[in-house]
């Protein structure tokens, strides 16, 4: 794989859940080291697109290529090999609340660890140093042995970031990582994500609602609306009209109700 090959390539991808079409005819290439924001209204298909990229979902039509391999053609164990190099950050509810922070961080090692080591670590935490460093980088080193449900929402999101640092993947996907945080916390988390990808050269793909943060922290903005790509441009080229078109609420929907 040479440096110019795309990390992700989507070819004519469509995704349906039953009768409802979530994504239609998506063509997309993402190169190594890019920082990409996926923006668009709720239900535009952002989460589904991220699910296709990390292999948790398969397309109904078309092909998803990751690291030069077609995901649909991989066996479960081959797929796991690919997934270990993709780190996904979900909202904080993806942490296990009644485990200590250290174990939620060490979960980032699990792709490499043996089952035995994983079990032992639950009783005598192993590789504490790596976890402590990751937690230091996200700014809450003192929480290492705290129970996760004792943390605030912002702190949990930092733990989720630190877990990805422990996993040390090639690509980081983040599914609305700041949707439950206030503006100040959101900015801090976005700063952390940007710094991480700048320092390590990791590719970063974030789905976001906050368009301002997308513009200030990412290089490339992809606008999704009703399962289609509305625009895909460098951040400086995003115009207010484009954003307005992205979030416009259609009146057509309300009209039939008024007729009754």
């Amino acid at each position: 794989m040479s440096g110019t090959d795309p990390i992700f390539e989507l070819k004519h991808v469509a995704k349906r859940f039953g009768k409802s079409r979530v994504l239609a005819n998506i063509n997309l290439q993402i190169l190594a080291g890019e920082r990409v924001a996926l923006v668009g209204p709720s239900g535009a298909g952002k989460s589904t697109l991220l699910g296709l990229l990390n292999g948790t979902q398969l397309p109904s039509q078309g092909e998803v290529w990751v690291f030069g391999r077609n995901l649909a053609r991989l066996s479960p164990s081959q797929l796991r090999q690919v997934q270990r190099r993709i780190g996904t950050i979900y909202q904080q509810l993806h942490l296990v609340d009644n485990l200590r922070v250290i174990h939620n961080l060490n979960a980032g090692h699990l792709g490499r660890w043996s089952l035995f080591k994983a079990v032992v670590s639950l009783f005598f935490p192993l590789e504490v140093e790596t976890a402590a460093q990751a937690l230091f980088k996200v700014g809450i080193p003192e929480k290492l042995y705290e129970r996760t449900d004792q943390l605030s929402g912002g702190q949990k999101q930092r733990v989720a970031l630190a877990r990805v640092l422990v996993q040390n993947p090639i690509v980081i996907l983040a599914d609305e990582p700041i949707s439950s945080l206030d503006l100040g916390r959101s900015r801090e988390i976005m700063d952390l994500l940007r710094d991480m990808s700048e320092q390590t050269g990791q590719t970063l793909i974030i789905s976001l609602h906050a368009i301002e943060l997308a513009l200030s922290h990412c290089q490339r903005i992809i606008g999704l609306r009703q399962g289609r790509i509305l625009f895909d441009v460098p951040a400086p080229e995003v115009l207010p009209e484009m954003v307005e078109a992205l979030y416009r609420i259609e009146n057509a929907r309300t009209e039939p109700i008024q007729k009754i």
């Binding site: 996904t88 509810l93 993806h94 942490l95 699990l110």
Partner: protein
């Protein structure tokens, strides 16, 4: 004007909403239930023949009077202590092994495991590839579950002789299957986002489970384990009766030699053991945030309240360390020879058993008798659960704390008078419930046989009494866990206590009561076997006869019939509960 308006409202109400008819699905099912109970009573031959044995009253009285002066001689007390430890040890080992089986089986019987293995967890529907192994394991688990511990015990006695292994295996196998089923349901109900986060970063399912679903579900798994331990204690006492030792065995020996003073000593030990284990377990389950079994049954895991962490973790530590110490002590007190499990003689006997069973003995002449016994068994289970359900519903209210000053039905009163009588009533009903559940059903049956002629009636009453104690306690827990806010608001608008009871307590509690009763009906059906052992009729009697006469060929047929009946009752109960 206002009158016209009033008329208009009345008219529109009359047009839009008609009074619902009293004949609906529910009332039809209730009629069906009442009809079932009446026909079951008819089965017992009540009103047609002599039921009560008048000659037995003096013996029965003698037995009752003995409760006032139990045998407290040092020899018997030390015997009682030994027997208690044996019963406790069986329950400990049985629980430990069945929880281990349940953990492995529970993971393998859960949908989420197979979805993780086949990586179909993000699909909206359960994929066919994952359904096949899941269905196979579910089916495999349902068979050991349908056969009562006692039948397993009698079977293992034929193989191992009188050995502690008999009791432990007899508890482990059916309880392991039940635990696996419940654990799998808990795992399927646990929020999956943390699991999916791990699986999507390429972690293999076993590691992902250990780092997400298992720790998340841990409080629920632990609390169910304690509930299982309560059940194991009762089961270990029953298993004593077939000769496996412990309190049940001693009670049977004393009953056969008519030493009523000794029986009462053993009874008191049984009350103490049951009472303290139930109390401890209830306390723990309360602090673990999963107050009763129904919560696990109806699977509302996300909504249930969590206690504060420090307290919880301390309690867990405390309880598990006590448990570990007790288990250690017990393991020293009874000698278990595990090598017997794979000894050549065991394997030889198993081979003989399998060789004898096939082909099973099925001939058409049996069918008439089997059908007869099946209806008897069904009637016995229906009568038992009717008695247990009614009695439980009557006794659970005084057994709950709502009547005490400060409780829901008596919030204002602070008078010491009310405190005194409230506490007395509470303690009285609670000990009544404890006594009726601590005494194993076959012992109840033997006591009833003093004054009743053998038949399905003493069996049904014995089962009913034992289950009444269990149901009453579970129902009292339901009442104490009721959401108090609607009740307080009723009080605030001036409702009297009976009105609060009628409009607040009863409507909230009744659906849960019915669910418990139906669940216990399934258990009663399985337990008809154990009263059959002491001659109370039905398929149970036939099963135990065939087992003790080594008639394995006919045994398989009877067992099949019993399993079909059990599954039928399970199915019926599940469809009632869904109404």
């Amino acid at each position: 004007m206002p009158q016209i308006e009033h008329k208009a409202i009345q008219n529109s109400v009359a047009k839009t909403s008609t009074r619902p008819t009293l004949f609906n699905q529910r009332s039809l099912w209730s009629l069906f239930g009442i009809a079932a109970i009446i026909s079951s009573i008819a089965q017992t031959g009540l009103f047609r023949q002599d039921i009560i044995n008048p000659g037995g009253w003096s013996v029965f009285l003698h037995f009752l009077i003995a409760s006032l002066h139990p045998d407290l001689s040092p020899e018997l007390l030390s015997l009682t202590l030994d027997a208690t430890i044996v019963t406790l040890a069986y329950a400990m080992y049985g629980t430990a092994f069945s929880v281990f089986l349940g953990l492995v089986g529970g993971v393998l019987a859960s949908q989420v495991w197979w979805q993780s293995v086949f990586m179909t967890y993000s699909h909206r529907q359960f994929q066919p590839t994952a359904i096949a192994p899941w269905l196979i394991i579910r089916a495999l688990l349902s068979i050991p579950r349908a056969i009562h511990e006692l039948i397993w015990g009698l079977f293992f006695i034929n193989i191992f002789g009188l050995d502690p292994l008999v009791a432990i295996l007899a508890i482990t196998i059916p309880f392991g299957a039940v635990t696996a089923k419940v654990f799998s349901e808990i795992l399927d109900e646990t929020p999956r986002q943390p699991l999916i986060a791990l699986l999507s970063s390429g972690v293999s399912p076993p590691k992902a489970f250990i780092y997400s679903l298992l720790p998340q579900a841990f409080p629920y798994l632990l609390s169910y384990t304690f509930y299982r331990f309560e059940c194991s204690i009762r089961s270990a006492a029953v298993l004593g009766i077939i000769g496996a030792g412990g309190l049940g065995y001693q009670i049977l020996l004393s009953l056969q030699s008519l030493r009523y003073e000794q029986i009462w000593t053993f009874f008191f030990a049984l009350f103490l053991l049951n009472g303290s284990v139930d109390f401890w377990s209830a306390l723990l389950r309360h602090h673990l945030g999963s107050p009763n079994r129904l919560d696990l049954n109806s699977l509302k895991l996300q909504g249930s309240k969590r206690p504060t962490i420090n307290r919880q973790s301390h309690l867990i530590l405390f309880a598990s360390s006590i448990g570990a110490i007790a288990l250690l002590l017990c393991s020293f007190s009874i000698k278990i020879d595990y090598t017997k499990l794979w000894a050549p003689r065991t394997i030889q006997l198993l081979e003989e058993f399998i060789g004898e069973v096939f082909p099973p003995n099925i001939n058409t002449t049996q069918f008439g008798e089997l059908f007869n016994l099946s209806t008897q068994t069904l009637a016995m289970s229906i009568l038992a659960i009717a008695l247990a359900g009614l009695g439980g519903m009557l006794l659970c209210f005084p057994a709950a704390r709502i009547l005490l000053p400060g409780g829901v039905l008596n919030p204002i009163s602070q008078s010491p008078h009310h405190w005194f009588w409230g506490t007395i009533i509470l303690l009285l009903t609670r000990s009544l419930l404890l006594i009726s559940r601590a005494i194993p059903a076959p012992i109840w049956a033997l006591i009833l046989l003093f004054i009743l002629f053998p038949g399905i009636l003493p069996g049904a009453i014995a089962l009913g009494l034992h289950n009444l104690g269990i149901l009453g306690r579970l129902m009292a827990e339901v009442i104490e866990e009721l959401d108090e806010r609607p009740l307080r608001s009723l009080q605030a608008l001036g409702a009297t206590s009976p009105q609060v009871f009628l409009y607040g307590v009863l409507p909230n509690a009744l659906p849960q009561f019915i669910a418990y009763i139906l669940y216990r009906w399934e258990v009663c059906m399985r337990e008809t076997v154990i009263v059959g052992l002491v001659g109370a009729g039905g398929l149970g009697r036939l099963l135990t006869e065939q087992l003790s006469s080594f008639d394995y060929k006919s045994l398989v047929t009877t067992l099949l019939c019993f399993i079909v009946l059990t599954f039928g009752v399970d199915l019926l109960s599940a469809s009632f509960r869904r109404l």
